[in-house]
Structure formats: structure tokens, C-alpha cells
């Protein structure tokens, strides 16, 4: 076991643990969206889990604890970057919580509350994609304007048995999640798996209501 000091709280953790994981397990919250425990390489794409180590601001999912270290999770520099990243994510998010199935269990709401950022941040224009619903999966609807592109679904799908069924497509601002097939026969494992639905931190992947099928 190795000891580390996080915000003046001493915690003990197995060497080799990811710093973000170590903090979360010890009830020290660090905002995060793209982190998936047990993955060999950090995705580090959401840019929320910043901490300060020796004056340097780094994403905590990219740091492994291999010895004593001093970590601060609540410095002005850390909060500034986290708030900025969250504002950017919210600026491309269709904030219509009342009509979203993820309402009240949404990671974005939780992080916004934690970082004290309004859901409709000022200063940035809202940029939304078209169309707002993509129904190219036999029974899952994708909402590009809810998606935060954390990629948890894509990475989980890749680790499942059989061939992966989804990936990112397009690039830059237009990046979305796309499925490879459109009918049930071509996607036999989806019926039972549904990992992507469970992994989505927001309401971007939604089981299509039978009435709409």
C-alpha cells in the first residue's frame, strides 16, 4: 500500500491504482465523464478530472499512484479548467432536462451543481447538431445534442464478445456515435448486452419506445 495526500486528507491505496480511481474510492469527488475503470489506456477525452500535482494541472485519470504524492483537487487553476470544459460541453448540449430520461440522474447535472456552473452558461452561443435524433439502430435512438462524446459506450462495445457494433464517425465538431448495422439480424448481441445504454452518463442513448417502432 502507498500513502498519498489529497487536499490534506491522507489516503492509502494499492500501488499502480489510477489517481482518479483512488480519490473516488476514498470519497473525494473529482468530476469525470469518460473514465472507465479497468481500461488499459486512459481515454482522457472529457478534460474534466483535472487535479494539481506539484503546481502542474493534469487529468487525474492519466496518473498512476506509484509512491507518495501530494494532490490538490480544488485549486483555482483546476476549477477554472473544469468549469471551462463543462461550459463548453453545456454549450453544445440541448438543455431540456424536463423531457430527458436522464433527468436527475444525469452526470452533467451533477457536475454542474458541483462546479457551480449554470446549465445555460453565458458568453457562449449554443451550437446544436442536425438531426437531433438518429434512429439507425434497430431499437436504440441516439441524441447527438445530448451526447457528451465521452466514448464509454464505444469502448465498452469494443471489449464485448463478438464484433463491435458502434464507433465514432465524422470528425471535429461534427463527431457523433454511429452504429454499424441497422437491423436486428446484423446486431445479434445488442439485444442482451445493452452495456452502452447503461454506460451512458447522460441521456444520449435511449431505448426506443415500442410505439415508435
Amino acid at each position: 500500500m502507498t500513502k498519498l495526500l489529497v487536499d490534506n486528507k491522507e489516503i492509502e491505496i494499492e500501488p499502480g491504482t489510477v489517481l482518479l480511481e483512488a480519490c473516488l474510492r476514498n470519497h473525494i469527488y473529482i468530476p469525470n465523464l469518460c473514465y472507465l475503470p479497468g481500461m488499459p489506456h486512459p481515454d482522457a477525452s472529457c478534460r474534466l478530472c483535472f487535479v494539481e500535482i506539484d503546481g502542474k494541472v493534469v487529468p487525474s485519470c492519466t496518473v498512476k499512484v506509484n509512491g507518495p504524492m501530494r494532490v490538490k483537487t480544488d485549486t483555482p487553476a483546476v476549477r477554472k479548467l473544469q468549469q471551462s470544459a463543462l461550459r463548453l460541453l453545456l454549450s453544445v448540449h440541448e438543455v431540456d432536462c424536463a423531457n430527458c430520461p436522464a433527468n436527475k440522474q444525469c452526470a452533467l447535472q451533477e457536475i454542474a451543481r458541483f462546479l457551480r456552473v449554470g446549465l445555460k452558461p453565458k458568453g457562449l452561443d449554443r451550437l446544436l447538431k442536425e438531426p437531433s435524433i438518429v434512429s439507425d439502430h434497430p431499437f436504440i435512438d441516439f441524441y447527438p445534442n445530448r451526447c457528451v462524446l465521452c466514448g464509454r459506450c464505444v469502448r465498452l462495445c469494443r471489449t464485448k464478445e463478438g464484433r463491435p457494433q458502434m464507433n465514432f464517425s465524422a470528425r471535429g465538431f461534427n463527431t457523433v456515435i454511429s452504429f454499424y448495422g441497422a437491423n436486428r439480424e446484423s446486431m445479434p448481441t445488442c439485444e442482451e448486452c445493452r452495456s452502452c445504454l447503461k454506460a451512458c452518463p447522460v441521456g444520449a442513448l435511449v431505448l426506443r419506445e415500442p410505439a415508435r417502432e
Binding site: H41, P42, D43, A44, S45, C46, R47, L48, F50, V57, P59, T62, K80, L81, S84, A85, L88, L89, S91, V92, G123, L124, D125, L127, V148, L149, G151, N167, F168, A170, R171, G172, F173, N174, T175
Partner: protein
Amino acid sequence: MSQTTPRISFNAIREQAEKRRKELDETGLPKVHIGMATCGIAAGALETKTAFEQALADQNIAARIHAVGCLGHCYAEPLVLVENPGWPPIFYYGVTPGNAGMIVRAFLRDGDPLLETLLGATEPNDLIPQVKDFPRFAFEKKVITQKSGFIDPEDVYDYIDHGGYETLSACLEKSPGDILQEVVHSGLRGRGGAGFPTGTKWRLAREAEIEHKVVICNADEGDPGAYMDRTILESNPHQVIEGMVLCAYAVGASKGIIYVRAEYPLAVRVITKALQQAEGLGLIGKNILGTDFSFDLSLFQGSGAFVCGEETAMIQSIEGYRGVAQHRPPYPVEKGLYGWPTVINNVKTFASIAPILERGAEWYRSMGTDKSPGTAVFSVVGNVVHPGLVEIPMGVDLRTLILEICGGIPNKKAFKAVQIGGPSGGCLPERFLDTPIDFDSLTEAGAMMGSGGIVVMDEDTCMVEVARYFLDFTQKESCGKCTFCRVGTKHLLGILERITKGEGRETDLKTLQELSQDIKLGSLCGLGKTAPNPVITSLRYFREEYEAHIKEKRCPAKMCRSLTAFYIDLDKCARGCDACVGSCPVEAIFTTKDRKKAVDQILCVKCGECMVACPVEYSAVKKISPAQLAPIIPRPEKKEDKKAE
């Protein structure tokens, strides 16, 4: 048993090359060297070559036409070097098919060197001025591009005859450690942009205790206006290949890949041929030059994503995944392609290796500065008289490069800014002209070395528009993985677009500033971390231009269309002249009551054609910003309308 050494194996190849050259020399024929890289071809070198062949056949003159690569003098393309026995070799510039026929008839047939169309001679003589007296040639120090423009890139023997692969054969007799030591000692820093010490990278790869190691040449050049790597590969691919083989030998790699973008079809063709020829002679592949060192080198075509120039994205792309950047560490040199230690260097870095090992680290260190030794290749484009590729020692200042070597700003305009380092770099104003060009000085000034693209801008360039242009590029080229780059650059672009249209808000500058800083600090890879640089530097050095756009709706350079207008100065306009009328594509110019011309501001699309068409003696067409300042002149009612009434 007789022992074959690399030198002995190579001597046989070199003799072959020398024999071929001697046979050609003994014919005593004149030689016509035509620059046939992409730049030359775009300027019409193919037609020029055909014209030479035709003219030589017509005049019944025997001569050898030699297709060579690019010498870097873009302003002079198609560039031709004529070696006529009894004369010094002479450069001719802008050789059109017509000029080609003239050179054959006047010079090769009648012995008149056409003094009025030549650029200069390459050797001292009594009659023709030498090119080396011309600043564009005099200041250059060619190491990387030394053979470019003199050899046929599609003929390996031409390279060998100019000393190529000699260094490889000599180095294969030394230990890999010695070669590594020499590269470390040379102080060479990666020419891809970041300037990481090449020797350190190689040593890390060499020390990795993993059997498979990979060497990748990064030729995924994509900066707007930069074409150094393309030109080097098209003009002298073997120098890059030789550098890669030397690297592989030094670090113990068995596999190599040249990653070229598919948008460089000529480079792809030239490299493919070069690899075949090198393999045919045993210079790459199994048991190189009879040793037990093998190096399998192949070509990989990237499909045109700028981000794949970032090394982790490049590895993803080669492995068959989306070209998306990964978090570092692990760095590719620890865990790269398929998990193997991978050395990724730029084209210019590899092209520097053979000259360093041939002439020694001390010689290399004698050029450039203490911390940035050697030479650097730049593509200088934009508002300069002599644009093109320039190779100079590190540490030469921007003033010398832009105003002397490249001939300064054309059309008597004033210098305004220089953009260095492509979309990752920054715009520097005039007071930075004395900055020496090396990795550290440029970074300090807020720009960066980048891979060598330099865009020079004159007083008619709007810095807000320039920042918008670069953000438009990076925003489109973002891989879309991390939040800051994907969303942040989109917002930066949106704000800049708004400002150039005259819709900027008072709070925009603060947002631009803060968002830029956050993107720089928060992004995952180099693309995002450097994407806001054009905004940050232009805001720092040209803030008043941003403010003029926002507060006064005025574009000081009169470049942003929404903020400018064209009008005709009635005091200057000549009665009865209608030069401008025909030039207008939208019929916005009408005749006033006193038979002068005026612009209908509602119809005008601000193309500026009328300004070009207006005779210089009148110069009546004026451009003005903000647009409301243009006088509104009512269009006289048409006669038909009166009749209808």
C-alpha cells in the same frame, strides 16, 4: 574465405553509377536540367520539357534532357539549368515552351546565351553574372536540400553518383553505438516542430529491451502554405531513406514506414520507385550491403487528416483505427506502433542524418546556434518577391530571411506580420523582425518553429481574418476527441467570424482571450494545445484591429468584405470613360447624371474588379471601411420608367 564488407559491396554499386555517368559525359552533349517537382509541373514544366524535345528534334541538336527535382525557387519556375559545353552552366527562369525553343535555337545552336532571360551562372566567368551574387542564393546553406534540384529523384544511381549511400556503407562498418553517439553529439533537434533532441529519442529507443522496433518517417505535412517535406521527398527521396536506414541501424529497428499523405501523388510515386530501386541494390531489405542487418521499409498513405501528423494519431491510423490522438505517456518511443518502441521523425530530420554522419557532428554544430545547431528549411510564401524553399542556418533573423533573401514585400507595400509555424504558430509584427530563427527564440516570441511554414503578410492583410482563416482550418481538422479542441475551437471560430462580419460584441475579446488560454492548457494533444496560438498572438500584437472591427465596424486593412465598400470618386472619374462598367459582374455600376460612374452599394458584391479596371491615371475607384462612409449616389431614373409613367 574472403570477407565482404559493406564498403566492398557498395563499391560495386558505385562503380556502376560512375560508369553510367562517364558514358554520358564522354558524349560531350549539352545537358538541359528541368525542375520537375510538383511546383515545377504546376508552373508548366511538362510543357516546357516537351517543347525542349520538339525544338531539339527540329534543330537536329543532340542533347540530354534531365528531369530533376526542385531547387526551391518557386518564383522562377519552370526553372531550367543548361550545361552547354564551353559555357558555364546557366539557370533560366520562367521558361515557357516558347522560351524553350528560343534557348535551343539561340544558345544551343547559335551560341547566344540570351542574357536578358537568364537568372545567372553557377560558376565564375567573364560574361554572365553568377547566381551566388544574388541574395536568394548567397545566404543559403544547403545541407538537407543540397542535392535537390540537381539529381533525378527517380534514378538511384544519380543519387549514388552524387555521394549518396556512401555514408551508409561507411557507417555499417561502425558500431550502432558510435552512430548514435555522433547523432547525439550533433545536437540535431527534430525538425517536425517541437524540436525534441533527435539523439535522445534514438537513445531511448535503443535502450528499450524489446526485440521489435520501428522507425517512422512523418511526411504527413498539412500546414496551409507549407511544402518542405513534399519537395524534399519529390526531389531527393534517397537521402531520407538513407537517414532512416542509419536510424534503424543505430536503434536496432527492423521495420520502417514512410507515412505520406495520399494528397501528394507525385511524392508517393517517387518514393515507391525509390524504395524498389534501393531494395534492388540491397540498400534496404534483407542483409543490407551483405551485412546481417535487415530493415524492411515500406510506404503508408495517410488519407488526409491533418491530425495524423500528431504521432499518436499517426500510429492509430497505421494500425487501422480512427486517426485520433492518444494520451502521452506512454510516448511512442516507449510503446508505439503495435506496442513496439517507435522512433518517429520528420522528413527533414532524417534527411539531415546522412550529411551529419558524413561530415561529422562538429561540422554540423558549426552551423546554426548553440542550442539549435544546423540548418532549417522554410517555405516562405505570401507577400514576398521571391517565395519558395529556403535553407538557412538556424539563428538567421527574420529580417534577413524575409527582406533580403526573399526580396522583401512586392508592390511597395509595407510589411505587416509574419506567420510562422502554420496553424499552430503565431503572427509576429514588425518589431520581431530581428528575432533569430531558432526553436527557443520563436517560442519566446509567441510563435513556434513548426515544421517550417512561413507566411509573410503586407499592410493589406487583416489580422482578424488571418486568425479566422487558421481557426477555420484547425476546427475542421480537429479529430473531435477532447472537449476543448472539439467544442472550444468551434466557438473561437464562431466569435472570429462574427467579428469579421462586423457583428462582434464588446465581451468577445475577453471570451476569446480566456477560451484560448483554456484550450491551450486543457487540450489532449498538440493540435489542440497550439490551435489558439494564431488568436492569442494576433490579440496580443494587433489588439487595436480587433477593437476597430468591434467598436467602429471598421477593418483597418480593408479586407473584411462586410465592413468595406467601393465607391467612385466623382472628382477623379473621367466623363465618358466606362472601363469599370464591363468589369462589374453584377451590373452595380451605373452612369450618373453628369456622365460619370457610381456604384450601387446594394448590388455591389465587393469583388474589387472595378478598382483593377479603373485606369491608373484616374484611380477613381476607392475602397473604404467602415462601409457606411461610402457616399450614396442616387441612380438616375431610367427613360423607360418615365415613359411607363
